[in-house]
Every structure is written in C-alpha cells, then in structure tokens.
C-alpha cells in the first residue's frame, strides 16, 4: 500500500488534504447542517428540540405575526427586523469609521523611518495580547458615569470653576460603536499597511515628476494601489462586527441588542435553540450577501502584481 502511495500522485494529494477535510467536515459542515435542521424544529416546554419541519422560526424573525392587536390575522412585528437593521447599520458604521481611522495611521506607519516602523506596528499589535473581554471592561472603566473620563473632565471643570454634570456615555449606542472601532482597528491597519508598504517610492516620484501635487498623487496613485488592503481589512472587520455580542452586551447594557446578542440569548437565556439557529443562519446569509456584493465590486483584496 505504501508502495502504491509512493507512485500515485493523486492518492498523495488525497492523503495531504485529508486532515483539513476531516476538520472542515467535522467542525464546519456537520455543525452547519445540524444548525439548519434544528432551525426547522420547535422548542419543547422544557427547552429541548422537537425535530419537525417548519419555517415558523424564519417567519418570526421576518416579523410576520399572527398575534395582532387590531384583530387582523397577519401583521408586521418589527422587533427582529429592527435588530437586523441595527446590526447591519452598526457594522457598516463601524467599518467606515475604522477605515477612516486606520488609513491615516497605516499611511503614517508605512511612510515612517524603517527603524521606527516596527515599533509602531508593535504598538498596534500589543492590545491584541490582552483578552478581548478584558479590554471591553477597560472601556467600561473609562466610560462609566463615575469613570476615568468623567472624573478627569470633572476635575478640569473644578479647576476653572465651571459646574460639571457627568456625561452618560456607557450603555449608549455610541459606546458600542467606540468599542467596536477600538476592537477591530488593528485588523484594518495591518492589511492597509501591508499594501501601502508595497508601493515603491519611485511611483510617488513618478507621479510628482509628471506634475501631480501630493493630493492628486494620493488620489490617483496611493489610494488605488492600497485598495486591496482596504478591501481585505473591510472583510476582516465587517464580518466579526456583524456577529459579536460581547461589545454590545457590556458597553450597550441591555439597550443595544444586536443579532449576536439575540442568538446568544436564545441559546442561553430563552433556551430556544431552534430560534437561535434560525437567527444564526440569517446572520450568515446577511454577511454572505453583503460580502458577496462587496467582493464582486472590489475583488477579494488580492494583490496587484507589482512591477
């Protein structure tokens, strides 16, 4: 058998992809199928799954309700549709904000002296060494009504004698946005930095030589050549922001419910895995659709072959 393996290229290939295949089938495809099956089921009184086939969970998410106040047989309940819309809007806003913050930073790092460049990159990466949840807690300390920011502002106001009422910052949509931007900033900086760093300095010189001032050089040369980094970063940021629940849970309190929170609560609090599964698949579908159209328009962030 070993002899056959040594001689047969195609069975060598099969052998090589077997571990990945086992991994993908066992940990991705089978769980996905299970989720799909469960999402068609019903919750029993004690929180178990009754395996039936029905689209009731999907109908519920889309907001088509039979329990109507005005006596109609069907009406629209916007509860879950609002959550979906809010999640999409937040993911979109966070991604745009992250791009706006990350691009200048990445540009600065890419054009910095090579000696200092590594220090800057290191500083970008250091926060990732700390646990995600702990960093969110750190933001709670900063944003609380009695937190660091309000204390400092209050102290400054006291110095100049202005009356100061602490800002309510924690448990607001703004706090969630700040948390998301903070958490995912490095995932945008790094790919943009990589594509900026690859741009040969002579291209900037060529643009200037041909009469382009720095702004036009940026718009016509730098920006298009760094788009692969922006696209890659967008995919890396948008998808997790759509699904996280920790940031909105801790910084949004119970006020800001995203689809991630909905799924988490269905599984852990409401003990309705069938509805949770349906919500998970809706989330996946939404992410896939957005990513699909985005990558159709901008590509997958593959590198433009240099020189």
């Amino acid at each position: 058998m070993l002899k056959r393996l040594r001689e047969n290229k195609s069975s060598q290939g099969t052998l090589l992809i077997t571990p990945t295949l086992i991994f993908m089938v066992g940990l991705l495809i089978i769980p996905l199928l299970l989720t799909l099956i469960i999402s068609f089921g019903r919750r029993s009184a004690d929180g178990n799954v009754i395996y039936t086939f029905g689209l009731h969970n999907y109908i519920r998410i889309l907001g088509i309700s039979t329990a109507c106040e005005g006596g109609q047989s069907l009406c629209f309940d916007p509860l879950y549709a609002n959550i979906l819309r809010r999640s999409l809007a937040l993911a979109f806003n966070s991604t745009v904000l992250v791009i706006l913050l990350a691009y200048p930073l990445a540009y600065f790092i890419a054009r910095a002296h090579p000696k200092r460049r590594n220090t800057f990159l290191f500083m970008v990466l250091v926060p990732l060494w700390t646990n995600f949840v702990i960093r969110v807690y750190a933001w709670m300390m900063l944003l609380r009504t009695q937190g660091v920011i309000n204390s400092v502002l209050g102290w400054l106001a006291g110095l100049v004698g202005i009356p100061f009422a602490p800002f309510e910052m924690l448990y607001t949509p703004g706090a969630v946005l700040v948390g998301m931007v903070y958490e995912f900033l490095p995932f945008m900086i790094l790919p943009i930095f990589t594509s900026l760093e690859k741009i040969d300095n002579s291209l900037y010189e060529a643009a200037a030589d041909l009469g382009a001032n720095p702004i036009r050089t940026f718009l016509r040369v730098t920006l298009p050549l760094s788009m692969p980094g922006v696209v890659a970063g967008t995919i890396l940021v948008f998808i997790p922001v759509m699904g996280t629940f920790i940031v909105s849970d801790l910084l949004g309190g119970r006020q800001v419910i995203l689809i991630g929170n909905l799924i988490q609560r269905q599984f852990l609090d409401a003990r309705d895995p069938t509805f949770g599964s349906a919500a998970s698949l809706i989330l996946m579908a939404m992410t896939l659709i957005v990513t699909f159209f985005y990558t159709r328009k901008f590509g997958f962030g593959e590198e433009i072959v240099a020189a």
Partner: protein, 369 residues
C-alpha cells in the same frame, strides 16, 4: 531661452547616515548642459551621478549650490512644478493603469482636454513603437515594452529636459544596444535636451554629445566622447573609459604640449602628449591604449620602442589580443585581423619576440590621481 538647459552651480549634497554621520554624495559639482544636447553623467555606483540627476528632477534639494533649469534657479521647487520629466531605472509604471492611462497621466495633471490627450498619447506611443498596446496593463508587457511606456510617459509632455536614470539597465544586451540607437534617434527627432545617467561607458560613448565622468561626487572630466577617450585628463578617466596600459614615471621636461617622462621600470625616457595638466618633476601616469600600440619585427622608432616577448595570444575574431611581457611588466596589445588566414602563425605565437612601438602621438601623459 537660456543658452543652457540645465546648470549645476557648485552643487553639494550631503546625506545623513543612519549612524548619525554624513555622506558627501555630490562634492561641488558645476556643469552646464546645453539646449538640445545629449548629455551623459558616467561613473560607477556611488559616484553621485544619480543624486545629481535627482536634484535636477527635484527629488532631492542641494545642501548648497544651485540648480538652474532654462536659466531659472530651482531652489526648493517641488518636482511637479519643474519643466523636466524623468525615465526611472525601475520604470515606475502605475500598475493599476493601462498603458494609455499611464501615458495620459502627466497630460491630465496639466489639465489637457480629452481629445488633446488622445492625440498626444497616440503620437507618443507611435514614437516609441507601442501603437495598439494602449489597453494593456504594464504587467502584460515585456521589460523592453515597459521601458518604452516609461519613455512615452515622459516625452508626452514635451519637457524642456528629459532625465534618464539608467533606463536601459534592466534590459538584455541586445535589446539595450537597439534601444541605445533608438534613444539617440528619438532625441534628435524631438530636439529636447537629454540628461542621461549610466555606468556603462560604451553606452555613454555611443549616445552622448558630451559626457561628464564622475567619481566620488566630483566631475573629473567633461567633454565629447572623442575628447574623453582620446585625451583623458587623469588616470582614473583613462582607466574607466576603455582599456589602457599604464606606466608610472616622472616628468623630466615639457615642450609644446609634449612631455618626456622617465620610466624607472624601463630605465629610459618616453615621449608623449600631455593630456590634462602635468608639471615637471610630477609623478605621472603614461597611458597607451592597446589598439594604438604598433607591433614590429624591429625598432621602428629611435624612442618609445621596446622589445618584448609574447606571453598570451587570444584570438577573438575581429581582433587578436596579446599580452607582451616587457621588463617584468605585461602590456595589452590589440591587433586587428586585417588579413583572413587559416595559418595559426599569422596571428603571433607565444614566446615570439616582438618590438612594441609606442608612437608619441598615441602616448598620453596624465596626472596619476
């Protein structure tokens, strides 16, 4: 219009080193490049030629001194405001743009109209023989074609001066030779000043009207290819351009542009033309090019004639290259094979005794530094 397209006036450029020191890249360079001239800066890497070019383009600013373009002092004028265009060694093509967009870029920056851009790009592409390639991306082109795009992009704006930084360095030898002739033809057709940086002396000789030979940030000699080759003003230039035999000696007397030099190795005096400046008593280099030594079977001159033994014979087709041993020295002698013969003895043999005639008019006396 000023007489000079480009003028460097006592230009110095120092670069800081990472260790906190300084490097003197260009050391008090003064040169005047005439309008319509094909001017080359020639030297090995680190001689300051590229830095000098970059100061004309505006990518670097002189530490002291001034760069003039068409008589106007450039000071700290940024590159995008200078009437020059550059062909980069790496071509520096915009990979995300088609050939057309690359060439059109400079015109767009000038705010030219769409129709004008189309017309001028088409003409520039025609001039570099790339018609029909306008929709391709640079990565779909060969090295030679990319080079032509870079050229078209630079000439489309009809700059006063075209700067070329080793533009042929990445091409293979055959293509390079073709492009040398093409560039020269293009320069004559356009009538604009070319400032060309190269480390390839043959390339510089082939194309240039005038050459500045540079070393260690200084211009050693400036002149036409004939002047540079036939009358190098110091040993470095004679050595860098072409091949030379060097003898060391001391100037005994000077007369009417000729010098008598005592050569200790031969224990006799040699007569030669003074090339550059030398003074009596100075230790000098006596240089004779290998193709200018005449071989004979007897002494054909009273002076400057020596008997030696052939050490090595190399037949290279058009010429025969010989090494002739002489008082413990070896002189290179190149003889053109003017007669077609299959007889090996027609091309000299190792161990054969020959007389070398170093005619005074072919023998140059120059500064040894």
């Amino acid at each position: 219009m000023s007489e000079f397209a480009v003028e460097l006036q006592d230009v110095v450029k120092r670069f800081p080193t990472p260790e906190g020191g300084e490097v003197l890249a260009v050391d008090h360079v003064t040169m005047q490049i005439k309008n319509g001239e094909f001017f080359s800066m020639l030297g090995s890497s680190g001689c300051g030629k590229t830095t000098s070019l970059r100061m004309v383009a505006g990518f670097e600013w002189p530490t002291s001194g001034e760069v003039y373009i068409e008589g106007i002092a450039q000071g700290h004028t940024p590159p995008f405001k200078r009437p020059v265009n550059t062909v980069f060694q790496s071509y520096a093509l915009f990979q995300h743009m088609t050939v057309f967009q690359n060439v059109a870029f400079g015109l767009e920056m000038d705010g030219a109209g769409k129709d004008e851009i189309k017309k001028r790009v088409a003409r520039a592409l025609e001039m570099v023989q790339l018609t029909g390639m306008d929709r391709r991306y640079p990565r779909q082109l060969s090295g030679g074609q990319q080079q032509r795009v870079a050229l078209a992009r630079a000439i489309v704006k009809t700059p006063d001066v075209l700067l070329l930084d080793e533009p042929l360095g990445a091409l293979d030898l055959k293509l390079r030779k073709e492009m040398q002739l093409e560039l020269k033809a293009l320069q004559q057709k356009l009538g604009i000043t070319f400032v060309y940086v190269t480390h390839d002396q043959e390339e510089a000789l082939t194309m240039s009207d005038r050459i500045a030979v540079m070393s260690q940030g200084k211009v050693l000699q400036m002149g036409s290819p004939v002047e540079i080759y036939e009358r190098p003003n110091c040993k470095f230039v004679a050595d860098f351009i072409g091949t030379s035999n060097f003898l060391e000696g001391t100037v005994k007397s000077l007369e009417k542009g000729m010098a008598n030099v005592f050569i200790p190795a031969f224990n006799t005096e040699i007569k030669g033309i003074v090339s550059g400046e030398v003074s009596v008593g100075e230790t000098v280099a006596v240089s004779v090019r290998p193709e200018k030594i005449r071989l004979a079977d007897k002494a054909v001159l009273n002076q400057n004639c020596f008997e030696g033994t052939i050490d090595l014979v190399t037949y290279i087709g058009s010429d025969t290259h010989l090494y002739v041993g002489l008082n413990g020295m070896k002189l290179k002698v190149w003889e053109q094979n003017k007669i077609s013969s299959l007889d090996p003895t027609a091309y000299y043999t190792v161990g054969q005794k020959v007389w070398l005639a170093l005619f005074p008019e072919n023998t140059l006396v120059m500064a040894s530094e």
